[in-house]
C-alpha cells in the first residue's frame, strides 16, 4: 500500500518535471494559462479593476444625492451625453445606480472571492498540483472579460445603459420603452449576466470536484482549512442557484424579443400604449431573482468568513475556536439561505401566512451567524495578536458583520419591514454586511496572501493607514444611512428635493457624500501599495506569517505544479497554534505527530484534528 502510493507519487513528480521541462510561451503562461494560480490572479486583478470602475460610479451617485441639480462643468465636458449643461440627467443617474450594483455584486465581490481566492487557494491549501479541470478553469475566467465588455457596451448604445436596478424587476426590465435604457442596454445587461453565470457554473463545478478528489494524503475533510470549507460551500451554493438566474435571464430575453409573456400580465398599458401580452406574472421574476439573489449574498460573504477565520487564527497565534461548529454553521447558513428569499418581497402583496413563514426562516438564519461571531470572539480570547494589516481588516470584518447583520433583525420582521423596505435603511444594512464586511474580507485576504502570490510583502505602514481610513470611512459613510431610512428616504431617488419630508435630510446627505469621497480616495493608498510592493516589497520567503496551512509549505510564489519538493502529506488539523510543548508557536499541517510529543500529555492534534479519516 505504502509502496504503491510512493511510486504513484514519484510518477506524478516525474510528470511534473517533464511538464515544466519546456518553458511555456508567455501567452500560455500568463494569458491563456491553465495554472490555477495565474487564473486566480487574473480574477483578482480583473475584479480590482472593476472595483475602481464601480466605485467611481458610486462617487457620481453620491455627488448627485448631496447636491442635486448642481452643475459640474468638468464632468459635463467628460460625459456630454450624461449631463445637460453640467447637470446630471436622471436617466444617467439610474444607469449609474444599476451598473454600480451589478458590477459590485457580480463583477467584484463574487469574482474576487470565488474566482480569485477560490482558484488561488483551493489547490494550494488542499495540497494539490492544480484544479481538477484546468482547461474548464481557463474558459471560466475567459468568459468574464467578454461579459464585462458586453456590460459596459450598454453605456454606448442607443438609449444608454439600463436603469432598472441590479434587481431588474419586470415589467420595467421587460418592456422596451418603459424606461430609457430598457432597449438594447437592458438586453446587453442580460446577455452579460448570462455569460457570467455560465462562467460561475464552470468555476463552481471545478472547485467542488477539486476539493472532493484532489486532497493531499492525510487531508481529511475535517482537516481542511476553513477557507477551503467556505469556498467549497459557496461553490455548492453557486451551483444550485446560478442556473435559476440564468433561466430567468433567458426567459426575460424571450419576453423582450420573442413575444412570450412569462413576466407580463394581461392589460398592460405602458405610456398610453396597450401591449399584446397575457398570462404572465411580474412577481415570478422576483421569486426567481431572489431565489438566486439571497444565496448570492451568501456566496459572497461565506468565502469572506472563511478568509477571516484563517487570518484571525494565524495572526492571533491561536487555534480557531469551535472548528466543527464553524463548519456546521457554514452548512446551516448555506442550507437556510435557499429558504428565505421571500424576505425581499414582504410588501409585494404576498399572502400574510407566507410572510410569516419567510420571517421564521429569515430569523433562524441569524442563529448560525451569531455562532460564527461568538466563535471569532472566542478565538481572540487570550490570544497573542500581531496587528498586521491583514489582521486589522479581519477584526474590522467582525465589527462590520455584527453591525450590518443586526439590522437584518429589523428588516426580517415583516411588520417593521413594511416601513423600512426600499428605504436607505436597507441600503445601510447591505452596504455594511455585504459591501463593507465582504470587502474587508477581501482586503484581509490580499494582505495575507500577497506574499505567497508575488513573493513579496506589502508595505505594512501603508496597509495600516489604509485600514484606519477605510474602517472609519465605511462607518461614517454607511451608518448614517440608517437615519435616512428611518426618516423614510426611499432608495433609488434621483433627487431628494421633490418631497417635503426629505428636505431636512440635506445636511446628512452632504456629510455622507463627504465621507464617501474620503473613503474612495483612501483606496488609492491600497492601489499604490499593491503596485509598489509588486516590484519593491521585501522578499517574503516561504512562510512569512509562520502559518500552519499547506500553501506556506510551497515556495513564494509557488512554481507551476505548486510543490518544488514532494507534494505535502498532512498529519494534523490546520490550527495548531501555540501548542504547549512545541518548539515554536505553530506546528504546520505537514509535521508528523511524533515531532511534537508532549511532556504533559496535553491533547496534541486537538479534538477536530484527531484521526486520519473523518
Amino acid at each position: 500500500m505504502e509502496a504503491a502510493i510512493r511510486s504513484e507519487r514519484a510518477a506524478r513528480g516525474r510528470e511534473r518535471a517533464s511538464r515544466s521541462h519546456h518553458e511555456p510561451s508567455f501567452v500560455r503562461k500568463y494569458i491563456f494559462s491553465t495554472d490555477h494560480k495565474v487564473i486566480g490572479i487574473q480574477y483578482l486583478l480583473t475584479s480590482l479593476f472593476m472595483a475602481l470602475v464601480g466605485g467611481s460610479m458610486a462617487m457620481l451617485v453620491r455627488l448627485q444625492l448631496a447636491w442635486p441639480g448642481k452643475a459640474w462643468p468638468v464632468l459635463g465636458a467628460v460625459f456630454p451625453d450624461a449631463f445637460r449643461d453640467g447637470v446630471m440627467r436622471p436617466d444617467f443617474y439610474y444607469a449609474l445606480v444599476t451598473m454600480h450594483g451589478t458590477i459590485m455584486v457580480f463583477f467584484v465581490l463574487t469574482t474576487i472571492l470565488s474566482g480569485g481566492f477560490g482558484n488561488y487557494l483551493i489547490p494550494l491549501q488542499i495540497g494539490a498540483g492544480d484544479m481538477a479541470f484546468p482547461v474548464l478553469n481557463m474558459v471560466s475566467y475567459w468568459l468574464v472579460p467578454p461579459a464585462i465588455i458586453v456590460l459596459m457596451a450598454a453605456f454606448f448604445v442607443e438609449g444608454g445603459a439600463p436603469g432598472s436596478g441590479w434587481t431588474a424587476y419586470a415589467p420595467l426590465s421587460a418592456v422596451e420603452g418603459s424606461a430609457p435604457g430598457s432597449g438594447l442596454g437592458q438586453t446587453l445587461w442580460l446577455i452579460s449576466l448570462a455569460l457570467l453565470m455560465v462562467s460561475f457554473l464552470m468555476g463552481s463545478l471545478n472547485y467542488i470536484t477539486t476539493v472532493l478528489n484532489l486532497r493531499a494524503r492525510g487531508m481529511a475533510m475535517l482537516r481542511l482549512p476553513l477557507t477551503v470549507w467556505a469556498l467549497f460551500v459557496a461553490a455548492i451554493l453557486s451551483l444550485l442557484s446560478f442556473p435559476v438566474l440564468t433561466a430567468a435571464a433567458v426567459m426575460l430575453l424571450f419576453d423582450r424579443h420573442f413575444g412570450t409573456s412569462f413576466f407580463l400580465p394581461e392589460g398592460l398599458v405602458v405610456g398610453g400604449r396597450a401591449l399584446e401580452v397575457s398570462g404572465g406574472d411580474p412577481l415570478l421574476w422576483q421569486h426567481l431573482f431572489w431565489f438566486l439573489g439571497h444565496p448570492e449574498v451568501y456566496i459572497i460573504i461565506v468565502p469572506a468568513m472563511g478568509i477571516v477565520s484563517e487570518v484571525l487564527a494565524t495572526h492571533a497565534r491561536k487555534p480557531v475556536f469551535g472548528y466543527r461548529f464553524m463548519v456546521g454553521s457554514l452548512m446551516a447558513i448555506a442550507f437556510l439561505s435557499f429558504l428565505v428569499w421571500g424576505h425581499h418581497m414582504f410588501t409585494s402583496g404576498m399572502h400574510p401566512l407566507l410572510g410569516t413563514a419567510f420571517m421564521t426562516t429569515t430569523l433562524i438564519i441569524a442563529v448560525p451567524s451569531a455562532v460564527k461571531t461568538f466563535n471569532w470572539l472566542a478565538t481572540l480570547w487570550r490570544a497573542r495578536i500581531r496587528f498586521t494589516s491583514a489582521m486589522l481588516f479581519a477584526i474590522g470584518f467582525v465589527s462590520l458583520f455584527v453591525t450590518g447583520g443586526l439590522t437584518g433583525m429589523v428588516l426580517g420582521s415583516p411588520a417593521a419591514n413594511t416601513y423600512f423596505h426600499d428605504t436607505y435603511f436597507v441600503v445601510a444594512h447591505f452596504h455594511l454586511v455585504m459591501g463593507s464586511a465582504a470587502l474587508f474580507g477581501v482586503f484581509a485576504g490580499i494582505y495575507h496572501w500577497f506574499p505567497k502570490m508575488f513573493g513579496r510583502l506589502m508595505n505594512e505602514g501603508l496597509g495600516r493607514l489604509h485600514f484606519w481610513l477605510t474602517f472609519v470611512g465605511v462607518y461614517a459613510t454607511f451608518f448614517p444611512m440608517h437615519f435616512l431610512g428611518a426618516a423614510g428616504m426611499m432608495r433609488r431617488v434621483f433627487s431628494p428635493q421633490v418631497y417635503g419630508f426629505l428636505q431636512q435630510l440635506e445636511p446628512l446627505n452632504v456629510a455622507i457624500t463627504a465621507s464617501a469621497l474620503g473613503l474612495g480616495l483612501a483606496q488609492f493608498l491600497f492601489v499604490y501599495n499593491f503596485g509598489y510592493s509588486l516590484f519593491r516589497g521585501a522578499r517574503a520567503g516561504r512562510n512569512p506569517w509562520q502559518a500552519t496551512t499547506l500553501e506556506w509549505y510551497a515556495p513564494s510564489p509557488p512554481p507551476h505544479g505548486n510543490w518544488d519538493e514532494a507534494p505535502p502529506v498532512v498529519h494534523r488539523w490546520p490550527y495548531d497554534y501555540s501548542l504547549p510543548g512545541a518548539g515554536e508557536d505553530f506546528v504546520p499541517q505537514t509535521a508528523p505527530e511524533p515531532a511534537v510529543v508532549l511532556a504533559g500529555g496535553a491533547p496534541a492534534g486537538g479534538a477536530a484534528g484527531g484521526g486520519e479519516g473523518a
Binding site: 436622471p90 436617466d91 439610474y94 420595467l172 418603459s178 430609457p180 398599458v269 405610456g271 406574472d281 497565534r317 491561536k318 469551535g322 461548529f325 410588501t347 402583496g349 420571517m359 421564521t360 430569523l363 455562532v371 470572539l377 481572540l380 487570550r382 490570544a383 497573542r384 495578536i385 477584526i395 467582525v398 455584527v402 453591525t403 420582521s413 411588520a415 417593521a416 413594511t418 416601513y419 423596505h421 510583502l457 505594512e460 474602517f471 462607518y475 448614517p480 437615519f483 435616512l484 426618516a487 423614510g488 426611499m490 432608495r491 431617488v493 433627487s495 421633490v498 435630510l505 521585501a538 522578499r539 517574503a540 520567503g541 516561504r542 490550527y575 501555540s578 508557536d585 509535521a591 479534538a607
Partner: protein, 287 residues
C-alpha cells in the same frame, strides 16, 4: 518519506513584516477605535432621533409597528454594544507579548451550545412578537371601511371613489384613452357616478380606509411614511389593504419602488379630514 523541509524549519524572512505590530500599542489603538466607533454609533443614533428619524406616526397600526421596531432596536442595540465592546476589549487586551504564547484552547461544547441557544431563544421571541403584529395588521378590513381605488401609473397616482352608490364601475384596459385614463366602461351604469382624480387622495380620520391598489404599467409602491403604510402596486393584480388614519392633515404619497426615470418625482397628496368635511368635498366632486 517525510519531506525534510517543513515551513517551520524555514529561517525567518529577510524582512520581518511586523516588528512594531507585535507590541501592545497597536492593540490599544485598535481596541479603542472599535470601542469609539461603537459608542459613536450609539451616540449619533440618539442624536438622530431628535432630527432624522421616523416621522410622528399617524395611523392606528403604525403605533404597533413603531412599538415592534423600538423593541427590536433595544434588543439589537444591546447585542451590538456587548459584542463590539467585547471585541474591543479582547483586541486591546490580547496583543502579542514577547516570550509568551496564546492559550491553546479551541473547543468547549458547553459554551458553544450556550451561544447557540441564547440567540435562538431571543429569535423565537422576536419571531413571535413580529408574527403577532404582522397578523394583526393583516386582518380583513372592517365592513364599514371607507373604500377607494388607487391606480399607479408612470408617474402618478389615479384615485377613484365609488360615488354615492358605493360601487365601482367596470373598467377594461382596452378602453383606456387619454380622456379615460382608467378605462371606465361607459356602458356600465354603476360607473357613472365614479369620481376620478390625479394625485389627490382624501380620506376620513379615525375611520378604517380600505384601498384597492392597482398598476397599469410597471411595479410601483404606495408609501406614506407617517401612516407606516407601504404596499407594492403590481400590474395584473388588485391588492387590497387597509389602515386607520388617526391624525388630520396633509401627507405625501411617495413611490417606493423604482418605476422608471420619473420615479423620484411620483408624488401624490393624501389629505386626512373629518368625515363631514370629506362628505362635503366628495359631494362637490360629483358635479
Amino acid at each position: 518519506m517525510q519531506a525534510e523541509t517543513r515551513p517551520g524549519a524555514d529561517p525567518r524572512p529577510a524582512a520581518d513584516p511586523q516588528p512594531e505590530a507585535e507590541g501592545r500599542g497597536w492593540g490599544l489603538i485598535t481596541g479603542v477605535t472599535v470601542a469609539l466607533l461603537a459608542l459613536g454609533a450609539l451616540f449619533t443614533t440618539l442624536l438622530a432621533t431628535g432630527r432624522w428619524w421616523l416621522p410622528p406616526v399617524a395611523s392606528a397600526h403604525g403605533a404597533e409597528i413603531d412599538r415592534l421596531f423600538y423593541t427590536i432596536l433595544v434588543i439589537i442595540g444591546t447585542v451590538f454594544l456587548l459584542v463590539q465592546l467585547t471585541l474591543a476589549y479582547f483586541v486591546l487586551r490580547f496583543g502579542s507579548r514577547p516570550g509568551t504564547r496564546a492559550l491553546h484552547w479551541h473547543d468547549n461544547r458547553r459554551l458553544e451550545l450556550l451561544w447557540t441557544i441564547i440567540p435562538a431563544v431571543i429569535l423565537v421571541a422576536l419571531t413571535t412578537m413580529g408574527g403577532l403584529v404582522w397578523a394583526r395588521i393583516h386582518t380583513a378590513p372592517p365592513p364599514d371601511a371607507f373604500t377607494v381605488e388607487v391606480t399607479a401609473e408612470q408617474f402618478g397616482w389615479w384615485v377613484r371613489y365609488p360615488g354615492p352608490d358605493g360601487v365601482f364601475g367596470r373598467t377594461g384596459p382596452g378602453l383606456i384613452t387619454r380622456q379615460n385614463p382608467l378605462g371606465l366602461d361607459p356602458g356600465d351604469p354603476l360607473g357613472g357616478d365614479d369620481v376620478v382624480l390625479l394625485n389627490d387622495l382624501r380620506v376620513p380620520v379615525e375611520r378604517p380606509v380600505r384601498v384597492f391598489l392597482r398598476a397599469k404599467d410597471v411595479i410601483h409602491s404606495f408609501f406614506v411614511p407617517e401612516l407606516r403604510v407601504k404596499q407594492d402596486a403590481v400590474p395584473g393584480r388588485t391588492i387590497e389593504f387597509w389602515f386607520t388614519p388617526t391624525v388630520r392633515g396633509e401627507f405625501e404619497i411617495a413611490c417606493a419602488e423604482l418605476c422608471g426615470v420619473g420615479h423620484f418625482g411620483m408624488r401624490g397628496k393624501l389629505t386626512v379630514l373629518s368625515p363631514d368635511a370629506l362628505e362635503a368635498w366628495l359631494a362637490e366632486q360629483g358635479h
